[in-house]
Symmetry: C2
Subunit: 232 residues, 2 copies
């Protein structure tokens, strides 16, 4: 029962193949559109059999939007829970860092975002994935607002601590879901403008502002959100 064998060949080869397939998938979809790309095409380009493809990815979608499921980073989670500044901003940031995952392949990531822009269905799939971790995020929000409410879990005067707690849970879930919507909004603004993708240089539009950075978009969305909430 050899524990940590050579930490490489087996696993790294697997990862290399997965990455190659994902790249080919995204490239092909970018060129021909999702519906016009068959699994066989991706397989041929990646030099694997169809059966192997489905060993790597559960669905055709998965190859295009990426195999790795969004998840919450431990450290960030702790930081989030114990912070006391802007809840909305920090929650939104947290969820964005989940979406843009560990993948350090910059090209692949931006290409993917473009694909999302061109193919709403895939964007939905991605959002659907996000909702799979909703429960986790909700838990984090709950822990934070409970702490902020200054309540040790079940210590309360009267007869109904359970009710109050449930209310906090509901609030957490509600907030998480709402922020998910905001995230969707942010995502749409985040997609590279068709112009900027085509022409890095000035093509005719006056401003040199190539494509809004994540931070810019997020900041804009937040200020907008705050203003919106203040109005009614």
């Amino acid at each position: 029962m050899p524990e940590t064998t050579t930490p490489t060949t087996r696993e790294s080869k697997h990862q290399a193949t997965a990455l190659r397939v994902e790249r080919n998938a995204v490239r092909l979809v970018l060129r021909h559109g999702f519906d016009n790309v068959t699994v066989d095409m991706i397989c041929e380009a990646s030099e694997i059999s169809q059966r192997t493809f489905f060993n790597y990815f559960k669905t055709k979608d998965a190859a295009v939007i990426g195999a790795d499921v969004p998840h919450v980073d431990e450290a960030k989670a702790r930081e989030f829970i114990s912070s006391d500044s802007d809840l909305l901003a920090e929650l939104l940031t947290l969820m964005m860092t989940m979406a843009a995952n560990l993948n350090f392949d910059e090209k692949l990531m931006t290409d993917r975002i473009i694909v999302f822009g061109q193919n709403p269905d895939l964007m939905h799939k991605q959002m659907e994935r996000m909702t799979r971790v909703t429960a986790e995020v909700t838990e984090l929000v709950y822990l934070r607002i409970r702490r902020a409410a200054g309540q040790p879990p079940v210590e309360q005067a009267g007869v109904e601590p359970a009710v109050l707690e449930q209310d906090l849970r509901d609030q957490a879930e509600l907030l998480t879901n709402a922020i998910m919507g905001v995230l969707r909004f942010v995502a749409t603004r985040w997609i590279p403008t068709p112009d900027s993708a085509a022409m890095p240089g000035a093509s005719g539009s006056s401003e040199g502002q190539v494509a809004p950075s994540r931070e810019q978009v997020l900041e804009h969305a937040l200020s907008l959100l705050r203003r919106t909430l203040r109005t009614p």
Copy 2:
């Protein structure tokens, strides 16, 4: 070119068949689970050929979640735009009336909701459908908040009315997306409790509150939302 012919036989027969298929689809899915129900099974139960099935419904999903796409009612839209009371509440109500559509078959509707509860994928599909009308709703919200802001479309002092208008559009879109999240939350609470579905009478749980009505759930969500927004 006869305009309004007999308003019945042709069309009503079509609707009757569609309804029959939907009922069978929901019934079968409820009994066996979505993945264990084939289109052929639905066809056999409904006494139509598979080819006809796909003439009625684009996908297997469509038969289960219903053929009719959510849409905004003209009258309600106008009412919404010109109202000045609680924006959040009215927007949420508007979207809920979209989801629960014209179908007057009570049984079918509740069964469907149960199906949604048992099969998250279908719930997602339904939400995805909702997002298809996001643009429309956004437009309504925009019209309302623009009116509330007291701005006739493009009449403004300085050089940047376009910017202000775009900001209002962004606000509308953001709000719509966020409310969609709230709607999702409401939906989860809306699903009949497994208990109440099984046993109408008292089975052991103390309260006689069988299942929260739509109004109750909505009211709860709204009060929760308001409290949540006041806190941070």
